[in-house]
């Protein structure tokens, strides 16, 4: 089974990586810890509870909107693409990433950075 592709963290992004038990409707393999009772990943589950920060998955549902808003405010498409490629990375099949015109500078020398094609 594929590893769980749930993105963890908020500013500091990470990947769960536990063995998955199902696949969410968004295509993401999800582990037993991250699947909700309806078989959804935390992001899809929290999208249904956007407005309620008391919902345990709220931050994960809010995260994509935060990256959209902040990249708009900073006029920084790279900032959003960092998140977006990270978030879509593992279950895209690894056949390249859409970095939105980003030229790749700055990733050089990142040791063990296996998520960007060069």
């Amino acid at each position: 089974m594929n590893p769980c592709a749930v993105t963890t963290g908020f500013f500091v992004l990470g990947r769960c990586g536990r063995p998955s038990v199902t696949v969410c409707r968004c295509g993401r393999p999800v582990c037993a810890r991250h699947v909700d009772p309806q078989g959804l990943c935390p992001e899809c589950a929290a999208a249904q509870a956007y407005a309620d920060p008391f919902h345990p998955g709220w931050a994960r549902g809010y995260r994509r909107r935060y990256y959209e808003q902040s990249s708009g405010m900073y006029n920084d498409a790279v900032w959003y693409s960092w998140f977006d490629s990270y978030d879509r990375g593992q279950f895209d099949g690894g056949d390249g990433f859409d970095l939105g015109g980003y030229d790749g500078d700055g990733f050089d020398g990142d040791d063990g950075n296996d998520w960007v094609d060069s």
Binding site: V12, G14, R15, R33, A59, R63, Y74, W79, G89, G109
Partner: protein, 241 residues
């Protein structure tokens, strides 16, 4: 006596939650699991406590809870998030500075002006990548108490207030952590300082006038916190819970 039952219910809340009800302040450093317990306790407040006097202070649900949720995402189970929140508002006496009289013309009799400084939020979080994030939010409120006499000789008093806000975000990187200048400059309203060293420190400050509404507050805090993270590309794939 219904309020006794309510008081008993409040006494069963998490101690940090109780502090927010009784003192309208919190100053504590806890690991993420314990903050989850605080938030779970706060979630029960509205259904348990109907008495207006004991409602949660402003900014608890709109700012504090979502900010805790965000930080818990980035802090490892064994590390800690420190939060000092003073949600009593700017009107408590110890936040007021000295007052002075402004020159006036009729029908105004007097204008007394003073400023209150309200540093209502300070946060320190040790993040998974080894960096440390510190946030502060401070309101500065100008008060003008106006006394005038209307044409019929009636004395009238009114106090006007105007708030500006300063938000700072400071991230102290791990030794040797990669730094790259972002492709786009920050908005002009944001001042950024990068202090290279064994541990690079990136700080961002903004001053907002008028201070944001409670509804927009979280977005502004996160917007300022964004800048120090734009300087570090995402780390390689890591296994994190």
């Amino acid at each position: 006596m219904f309020w006794r039952k309510t008081r008993a219910a409040i006494e069963r809340f998490h101690p940090v939650h109780q502090g927010l009800v009784w003192q309208r302040t919190a100053s504590v450093t806890l690991p993420p699991a314990e903050w989850d317990a605080v938030v779970a306790s706060l979630a029960r407040h509205a259904e348990t406590v109907k008495r207006r006097k004991w409602r949660l202070p402003d900014r608890t649900v709109a700012v504090l809870v979502p900010l805790i949720r965000v930080l818990c995402e980035d802090v490892a189970p064994g590390d800690a998030i420190g939060i000092t929140a003073d949600l009593r508002g700017p009107q408590v006496p110890e936040k007021a500075g000295p007052s002075r009289q402004l020159p006036v013309r009729k029908p105004i009799r007097s204008i007394t002006e003073w400023f209150a400084l309200d540093p209502w939020l300070a946060v320190r979080a040790e993040l998974r990548d080894g960096s440390v994030l510190e946030l502060t939010v401070t309101d500065r409120v100008r008060y003008r108490k106006i006394h005038k006499v209307n044409p019929r000789g009636k004395h009238k008093h009114k106090t006007k207030s105007k708030a500006v806000q300063r938000i700072t975000a400071r991230r102290t990187l791990q030794p040797g952590q990669d730094v790259r200048r972002p492709d786009t400059p920050p908005p002009r309203t944001l001042a950024v300082r990068v202090k290279p060293g064994k541990r690079t420190v990136i700080s961002a400050t903004t001053k907002l006038g008028p201070a944001p509404t409670e509804q927009d507050q979280l977005q502004w805090v996160l917007a300022v916190a964004t800048e120090p993270f734009r300087w570090t590309p995402p780390a390689a794939e890591r296994r994190t819970a």
